[in-house]
């Protein structure tokens, strides 16, 4: 049994991958089976999300039972989760109670986090030259200042055209080049991983 299961899992995974891949090349022949397999994977992903929620609750339940310093945070999470589930179940996903929770808690909390992030980033940038007085630190700070000054008209100076142009060049050439390079690397890695999975060499599903 220990030998049969890994082999059968590999066969299922390879055949499924090949059918989905062939669906792109021959949509008329394999389009339907590709659609069915993708539908199954979507259902599994939704179930995985549900499992993730249960796992989160279980982990914090254990932390609550164990006590300790973070126990109160786990209690807050569990209580919040329970209240949210109850209210959303009563009023529906887009009901008045659900929107009240969303607009009163989630939106302000997320916006506040980003606001604090802005303050922390400014503070870190102001201290960066003190902690790392290197040439690349200076280059980083200069780039940051150029992008900031070119993004918006300054309050007293107005729009500085050279800075706007320089900001556009920095954002579209060096930044996008680096990002595209990363994406190309990720894409090549994904292709290699896909081929290994299709060949049964990599078995992330176990075995």
């Amino acid at each position: 049994m220990k030998k049969i299961l890994p082999t059968s899992n590999a066969i299922i995974a390879v055949i499924s991958g090949l059918l989905v891949l062939l669906g792109y090349f021959f949509p008329g022949v394999f389009g339907n089976i590709q659609s069915i397999l993708i539908g199954w994977s979507i259902i599994l992903a939704a179930f995985a999300l549900l499992l993730g929620i249960f796992n989160l609750a279980f982990v914090h339940w254990k932390k609550t039972k164990a006590g300790g310093a973070g126990g109160i945070n786990s209690i807050v999470l569990l209580v919040s989760l329970g209240i949210t589930i109850i209210l959303v179940s009563l009023s529906g996903p887009t009901g008045a109670l659900s929107l009240w929770i969303f607009n009163s808690f989630q939106v302000p909390v997320e916006i506040s986090l980003l606001a604090v992030l802005a303050v922390v980033l400014v503070y870190a940038a102001a201290r960066l030259l003190t902690r790392r007085p290197k040439w690349y630190t200076v280059l980083f700070l200069v780039t940051v200042l150029i992008v900031l000054l070119g993004s918006v008209p300054l309050f007293f100076l107005g729009e500085v055209a050279p800075l706007v142009a320089l900001r556009g060049w920095l954002a579209q050439v060096p930044a996008v080049a680096g990002a595209r390079g990363l994406l190309l690397g990720v894409a090549l890695g994904t292709v290699a991983t896909g081929i290994r999975i299709l060949m049964g060499v990599d078995r992330p599903y176990g075995g």
Partner: protein, 628 residues
């Protein structure tokens, strides 16, 4: 005068005594009456003769041991012959009838109180012992088959201690000097039980009781006594003992057998220990015996084992040391507390200054509604003009797919453009189909649609939209949506199958929507839409429009600027939202642009001042270090 033989030590006692004067064992219950001097000495063979008769009556003939008789050495046969000759030559001092009476008195007297009361118990007890020893447990077999085995211990018992005592006190021949008949020799040879001197008095008592039962059950009147018993003359026994027997040539034994022989100097019948001080058994089948294990049922009764406390008993000093050790170990695990720092440090003050420098100007601009900073024009922000044209090109009343894939934290940056977009779609009465790939997307979409619809002056009146909810699976979900939106999202959040009613009943694929508008702050999400859904949209020329944040704009912009473009229009950041608003005639900004401008200006100033001041302050310090 009849003495009572102690069942424990085997010594004769006067009949008026209730306890043995030697071992203090009770005599009334189980003592044997010793034969008087006139009646002759006690002879163990009396009982064995009865047993032999009984065995004969039960079919156990002595001839069955003929092979054993053949194995008897010649010296033993000679001894037997001499004995028989000697007894025949002497006149008979007692009649056989007297001997029979003596046997009856011997057998009936001691067995009257106990052994006669519970013969069956003894049989059962003996049967259980035999069964444990591997024999048959059948009662019938106990009565018939092992009868010869019972007889031998009886003989051995009665020839053991009683003869020894009488030998010392009354001059009876020792058992070693009494010549045994053939049948007894054969029985002894075939017996597995030890003979003379190796049987304890208790065993002799029990076995004797069994023999008595057997004798009682037999017809004593017809009992045949061997002739040699009647020929025994007790008065002449001491003389026989004194007379030297015929010289028997010692047998020549092999060396290994000589080595196995026990030491003759040690008497096998010698008592191992003095039992006079031992306790007397007061209950059970061994009642009255001394020096044996008490077989009282309570001794072997299964009872619940006593519970003992597991609490460790320690002294106060030990407890104090343990507490000290526990305290030491607890201190080892505790992290050393950091030295407390004052709340108002230079670092905290600097943080507060930065926060104040950012928050206060922003708040001031929003409160005052300042519009001093010129707003961006549609032509100045890439993608806004095309975006506006694509939205205007959407047929009125046609279905539009809106993907709310941005986090709620980016609402301040993106909501301006999205509100304007929803307002435009509402004006054109487009059917908005809301989907999302993030769990909080449905609530975000619903919360944004409601205020936007209220802008028309009819709050809550616009219901020409449906919220299909969350698409699980990320990129795979988008692929499924592109291939078959009905199968991925068959029902709305209200539980209605919207694909069967207008206007979505005309939508079979994602190309049937008039436009796909993605609202996202994540470049990866935008890329997934472009790469997974975009190729499907190309077939019918359905526009893919994106509203994004400033952080994702650099990565999405190449899709827009590509030729042919994969994104037909885009609105990015707050500047794009303002430009798009201006392009549709909405110039209201509520001071947001000025606040954004002054926040950026303040940030640049803080970074510059902070970096320069810190660098200036650090240069003298580094110079001092070099000098030192």
């Amino acid at each position: 005068m009849t003495d009572i033989i102690c069942p424990l030590c085997g010594k004769p006692n006067p009949p008026e005594l209730d306890e043995c004067k030697y071992c203090q064992a009770p005599l009334n219950a189980s003592g044997f009456l010793a034969p008087s001097d006139q009646e002759g000495q006690e002879n163990p063979f009396i009982v064995s003769s009865g047993d032999s008769d009984q065995s004969e009556s039960q079919g156990l003939k002595p001839e069955s041991t003929s092979p054993l008789e053949q194995a008897i050495p010649d010296w033993l046969k000679n001894t037997e012959a001499n004995f028989l000759e000697g007894t025949e030559a002497k006149p008979e001092s007692q009649a056989p009838d007297d001997i029979a009476e003596q046997i009856d008195s011997l057998l009936s007297q001691p067995s009257t109180p106990d052994n006669g009361v519970q013969p069956d118990i003894d049989d059962d007890w003996l049967a259980s012992l035999l069964a444990e020893a591997g024999g048959e447990s059948s009662p019938l077999s106990l009565q018939e088959e092992p009868l010869d085995e019972k007889e031998v211990p009886v003989n051995a018992d009665l020839t053991g201690p009683s003869v020894e005592e009488s030998n010392g006190d009354e001059g009876v021949l020792p058992p070693a000097q009494i010549e045994k008949p053939d049948w007894l020799t054969g029985l002894e040879a075939s017996s597995k039980i030890k003979v003379e001197g190796e049987i304890t008095p208790s065993e002799a008592f029990v076995i004797g009781a069994g023999v008595a039962d057997t004798v009682e059950s037999a017809d004593t009147g017809s009992m045949d006594i061997p002739d040699w018993i009647g020929k025994i003359e007790p008065e002449e026994t001491p003389s026989d003992q004194e007379e030297p027997g015929p010289q028997i040539a010692p047998a020549e034994l092999p060396g290994w057998l000589e080595a196995l022989r026990p030491d003759d100097s040690v008497s096998a019948t010698e008592p191992v220990e003095d039992l006079s001080a031992a306790d007397v058994v007061t209950a059970g089948p061994l009642v009255g015996l001394r020096g044996v294990i008490n077989a009282h049922p309570s001794a072997i009764r299964a009872r619940k084992p006593p519970t003992y406390s597991i609490k460790l008993r320690v002294t106060d000093e030990q407890r104090a040391r343990v507490e000290m050790m526990v305290a030491l170990l607890a201190d080892e695990q505790k992290p050393k507390p950091l030295p407390s720092q004052p709340v108002l440090t230079s670092r905290n003050i600097f943080r507060l200054v930065i926060a104040a420098a950012l928050i206060l100007p922003i708040a001031w601009m929003i409160i005052t509604g300042s519009q001093q900073v010129p707003a961006p024009q549609p032509g100045e922000v890439p993608g806004v003009v095309d975006f506006t044209q694509q939205v205007q090109a959407i047929p009125a009343g046609s279905p539009v797919l809106l993907a709310f894939d941005y986090e709620a934290g980016f609402s301040g940056e993106m909501n301006l453009a999205i509100s304007t977009l929803i307002n435009q779609l509402t004006i054109k009465n487009n059917f908005m189909t809301l989907v999302t790939t993030i769990p909080s997307g449905p609530a975000l979409a619903e919360s944004l649609i409601s205020p936007s619809t209220s802008l028309e002056g009819n709050p809550g009146s616009y219901s020409y939209y449906t919220n299909l909810g969350y698409i699980p699976g990320g990129t795979l979900g988008l692929v499924g949506l592109a291939l078959s939106p009905k199968s991925v999202l068959p029902y709305s959040l209200d539980g209605v199958n919207v694909w069967q009613s207008a206007p979505l009943d005309t939508v079979a694929t994602i190309n049937d929507f008039s436009a796909i508008i993605v609202l996202t702050n994540d470049p990866d999400t935008a890329r997934s839409w472009v790469e997974q859904v975009g190729p499907v949209l190309k077939e019918d020329g359905t526009p893919l429009l994106i509203v994004t944040s400033s952080q994702a704009e650099p990565l999405i912009r190449p899709y827009y600027e590509a030729n042919p473009s994969q994104v037909q229009g885009m609105v990015s950041s707050l500047a794009g939202g303002l430009a798009y608003g201006r392009s549709v005639g909405n110039i209201q900004q509520n001071g947001e642009w000025d606040a954004f401008s002054i926040a950026i200006t303040a940030s640049v100033l803080i970074i510059l001042i902070g970096s320069i001041s810190r660098a200036v302050m650090k240069l003298p310090m580094s110079g001092k270090k070099k000098e030192s």
